[in-house]
């Protein structure tokens, strides 16, 4: 499923097929992601509310992210530099959601 990108945080530099020699650089600059994990406690309505109110995504995107967490066990909710992702994770913990950060695709 396509993960909606939060509007305020552009995704990393897109990899190009025309310039394969840049792949190594791109890979070294892999951004970090904030991952929210499914748990049996938090209500679906509350999780969608948190995504909507904290990340400022539309109700539709918040619902889609919430369902992705619920159905697949996790969802990437933000992408960016490590410091920004740590702030998001701390905020998610403040809401009581289970969240971690990691290198993208790690």
């Amino acid at each position: 499923m396509e993960i909606p990108s939060p509007a305020w945080e552009p995704r990393g530099v897109p990899k190009t097929v025309e310039r394969p020699d840049l792949q190594e650089t791109v890979s070294l600059d892999r951004p970090w992601v904030t991952i929210v994990w499914d748990d049996p406690v938090n209500l679906m309505s509350y999780v969608a509310y948190v995504f909507r109110s904290y990340f400022g995504v539309t109700a539709e995107d918040a619902e889609r992210l919430m369902l992705q967490v619920h159905n697949t066990g996790r969802a990437v909710v933000a992408t960016g530099n490590r410091e920004a992702m740590e702030r998001h994770v701390e905020a998610m913990h403040g809401y009581g959601l289970s969240a971690t950060l990691a290198r993208e695709d790690s």
Binding site: V41, G94, G96, A99, T100
Partner: protein, 182 residues
């Protein structure tokens, strides 16, 4: 108990006194637990509930997780305590323990006092409530050993009561989310 949107971004609900007492009791115990905890070492904390309230920020990097915890756990715990105290403040000055052996005489003598209590929350109160209700449910879920499919595995004498409280807190939270979702 059903939260409804009210004027100026507020929400309101009527709580039965027994509900107020229950929420105050649970929230007071949460404050006690949080204040008794050691923010610097929750990873080693014996209480799994506290571990769930302060989860790891890195799954595969214990060192980074420990460092993150060192920088954030204290603030996070402080905010959780503050939120719980906001909830207690909005619940008014009713007796802390309604399940005491001594019935409150004013409740017996004055019919008016038995009427449900009107709870009105402004937007910052709502944020504290949402977070505290979550912390209460996470804590109860640990006590009940809620399985990934949502079924409690604990089979103690008080488990059915705790599970009722857990479900009721969920109802309160859902009602609150719907009331502000306009």
């Amino acid at each position: 108990m059903q939260f409804e949107p009210a004027a100026e971004g507020r929400v309101s609900a009527h709580f039965e006194l027994v509900e107020v007492g229950l929420l105050r009791l649970a929230t007071s115990q949460l404050v006690e637990m949080l204040e008794a905890s050691d923010a610097s070492a929750p990873a080693e904390a014996a209480d799994p509930a506290l571990k769930r309230l302060l989860p790891d920020a890195y799954h595969d990097d214990p060192e980074a997780a420990a460092e993150f915890r060192r920088f954030t756990a204290g603030d996070l715990l402080d905010r959780k305590v503050l939120n719980a105290k906001v909830v207690l403040a909005t619940l008014g000055d009713e007796p802390l323990d309604p399940i005491s052996d001594e019935p409150d005489e004013s409740l017996l003598q004055d019919d008016y006092d038995e009427a449900p209590l009107a709870i009105v929350l402004d937007p910052p109160d709502v944020q504290s409530w949402l977070r505290t209700l979550t912390d209460l449910r996470l804590t109860l879920a640990e006590r009940l050993d809620i399985a990934p499919d949502g079924v409690p595995r604990r089979d103690s004498e008080d488990a059915p009561f705790l599970h009722d409280v857990y479900e009721w807190l969920g109802m309160v939270q859902e009602s609150l989310v719907y009331a502000i979702d306009v």
